[in-house]
């Protein structure tokens, strides 16, 4: 029996990185006299914000991306693009860099060995200890190499990436100068409501699991208000554990730049919370959490990052569905399952990423889909239900259409409490989804405020 029991995995890289200075006096001392840089959003060619590096600094310093400690050196980025590995050999999907324009670099006047004070919303936020200054020669080439090509990655890439792919646009929009080095947060940002209730960075999530007596925890990735199909995915996937179902079901919402038509982040996190406040999953078994990241929509690569984040949080299992973190038809719809099921040699993985050296320890739970079956009279799993003619699929866009028309969705689509959360934030923002006004204002106000700090 003992060997069948699954224990919580160690963090990716062996230990959790936590680069947060909690003593303000020491933080001030570290930042004193440093040149100052005010963090700016990354803008696309139309001037629309597509990324804010503050989110990467937060997720790095609070350990979500362990063992990454900061902005990457050129050799590390090159190794990631070639083999999806950091210089210390641990697998990692994406280049993460602190980029700035030639003009800003000139003004800043720093070089290797210098320290920069990074300000956010006008207040001291973090320091960056510069170890290398390098340049991205061609951001479009970097963007394409980051996500792959149909010729170079025929196992999973179906179409060349272009400006309709948000992740590709992020890399293409980067500034040319990179300051590589470790980040340290010196002035901890405070999350605004409702996000503050859901902030469980890896050290804290592991403590929370201990407090709740959870040994096995399955993670559900989300960027959506949960409909009943999502709820059943969570409940059914959680039957997979070891000698008993998973003790905990964790929802981890990716909070970042929004796209027109998405639900507002506030409705997403409170919608998931309503699943346990409404009693559809016991609150003792359900934990809603957030991670800051501007989604790249890199399907298999994004799933690798999701695996790293949730393994660092202490999860034993991760649900993956069809078209995981995907947009358009750039990747095979089962690209994530291919990565976790047999590997993608062209990305450097001849075997599943849980079976390669310095790979991941979190276990994938690859799920197909749930639909409503009028003949079964229930939400059915596609792997079980044989009523293919009668099935009624949950379509996110159909559900969004229903919401927009103001039709109260039937209980079998949305729990009434979850739908009312959408209405709550609809009243607040004047619109049920992210419209250009919400997208613009969100990137100005961000999810956090910073305490005043004099240096």
């Amino acid at each position: 029996m003992g060997e069948l029991v699954i224990e919580r995995p160690a963090p990716h890289g062996g230990r959790l990185e936590e680069r947060v200075m909690r003593d303000p006096a020491l933080g001030k001392k570290l930042a004193k006299g440093c040149p100052v840089y005010d963090i700016k959003p990354t803008l696309d060619e139309k001037g629309v914000p597509v990324r804010n590096v503050y989110r990467e600094i937060m997720s790095t310093c609070y350990g979500f991306f362990s063992p990454v400690e900061g902005s990457m050196k050129q050799a590390e980025v090159e190794r990631i693009l070639k083999e999806r590995r950091l210089l210390n050999d641990w697998v990692f999907p994406y280049p993460l860099v602190f980029d700035l324009s030639e003009e800003d670099y000139k003004k800043l006047g720093v070089t290797s060995g210098d320290r920069v004070l990074l300000r956010l919303k006008g207040e001291p936020f973090a320091i960056l200890d510069v170890e290398e200054v390098w340049r991205i020669d061609n951001t479009e080439e970097l963007a394409t190499k980051t996500f792959g090509t149909p010729e170079g990655n025929p196992e999973v890439v179906r179409e060349p990436f272009d400006k309709k792919m948000p992740g590709w646009v992020i890399y293409k929009s980067l500034n040319p100068v990179v300051l590589a080095g470790k980040y340290t947060i010196i002035n901890e940002p405070k999350f605004k409501p409702p996000f503050n209730r859901f902030w469980y960075p890896p050290k804290r999530s592991r403590e929370e699991y201990d407090k709740r007596g959870w040994r096995t925890v399955i993670n559900h990735q989300t960027r959506n208000v949960p409909h009943v199909g999502h709820e059943f995915l969570m409940k059914d996937a959680a039957y997979m554990g070891d000698t008993e179902p998973c003790h905990g079901i964790q929802v981890n919402a990716i909070i970042g730049v929004k796209r027109k038509g998405d639900y507002p982040d506030e409705a997403i996190v409170e919608g998931h919370e309503m699943v346990h406040l409404g009693g559809y999953i016991k609150p003792e078994r359900h934990l809603v959490t957030i991670c800051l990241w501007d989604m790249r929509y890199g399907n298999p690569l994004e799933s690798m990052l999701h695996g790293i984040i949730r393994q660092n949080m202490g999860c034993t299992h991760h649900m993956f569905g069809r078209d995981h973190a995907a947009v358009g038809e750039y990747y095979d719809m089962y690209a994530t399952q291919i990565l976790w099921g047999k590997g993608i040699p062209s990305f450097g993985f001849p075997a599943p990423i849980t079976d390669v050296p310095y790979g991941l320890k979190i276990r994938p739970q690859n799920m197909a889909e749930f639909w409503y079956c009028p003949k079964c009279g229930e939400i059915a799993y596609s792997g079980c239900c044989g009523h293919l003619k009668e099935k009624q699929k949950f379509s996110g866009s159909f559900v969004r259409g229903m919401v927009a028309e103001g039709v109260f969705p039937p209980k079998v689509i949305f729990r009434p409490e979850v739908y009312k959360v959408i209405v709550k934030w609809w009243r607040e923002f004047g619109y049920p989804f992210c419209n250009p006004k919400y997208v613009k204002e969100k990137e100005e106000r961000l999810e956090v405020d910073l305490p005043h700090m004099e240096i």
Partner: protein, 132 residues
């Protein structure tokens, strides 16, 4: 390839088609919880709709979705007028594309939220189980 389009029918719309003969064409979804008209959209009409509205997409069920609310409203009006789920209704909508686009531009800024009581969830949120 031909696609489909679903027109949602709430109480008001069900009332508007009463006695028109269209009641027989109502499809029930999700165990009778939702009433809809399901329109068959021929390939050429589907292409015209997709070309006219850049947000439109075909979902995994083969349905045309993500159209402006004004489109959905207009197609219901055309169905009610022509008493048909056939191409007449689609042709009627396609003649009104510029009118729909104007209404859609206004609707992309602001939409009136439904007038429903949400005090039960506000009460639940007063005692959250997670306090952060």
């Amino acid at each position: 390839m031909a696609h489909k389009f679903a027109v949602l029918l709430d109480e008001k719309r069900m009332g508007a088609i009463k006695g028109s003969g269209l009641e027989e064409k109502v499809s029930s979804l999700f165990g009778g919880a939702l009433q809809t008209f399901i329109l068959e959209v021929p390939e050429d009409k589907s292409k015209q709709i997709m070309d006219a509205f850049d947000t439109a997409r075909i979902d995994s069920r083969g349905f045309i979705t993500d159209l402006p609310i004004a489109f959905n409203r207009t197609i219901f009006e055309e169905i009610a007028k022509s008493k048909s789920l056939g191409v007449e209704a689609l042709d009627g909508v396609l003649k009104r594309v510029s009118e729909i686009k104007k209404a859609a531009a206004k609707e992309s800024e602001s939409l009136p939220p439904p007038d429903i009581d949400i005090s039960d969830i506000e009460k639940l949120q007063k005692t959250p189980r997670q306090t952060g």
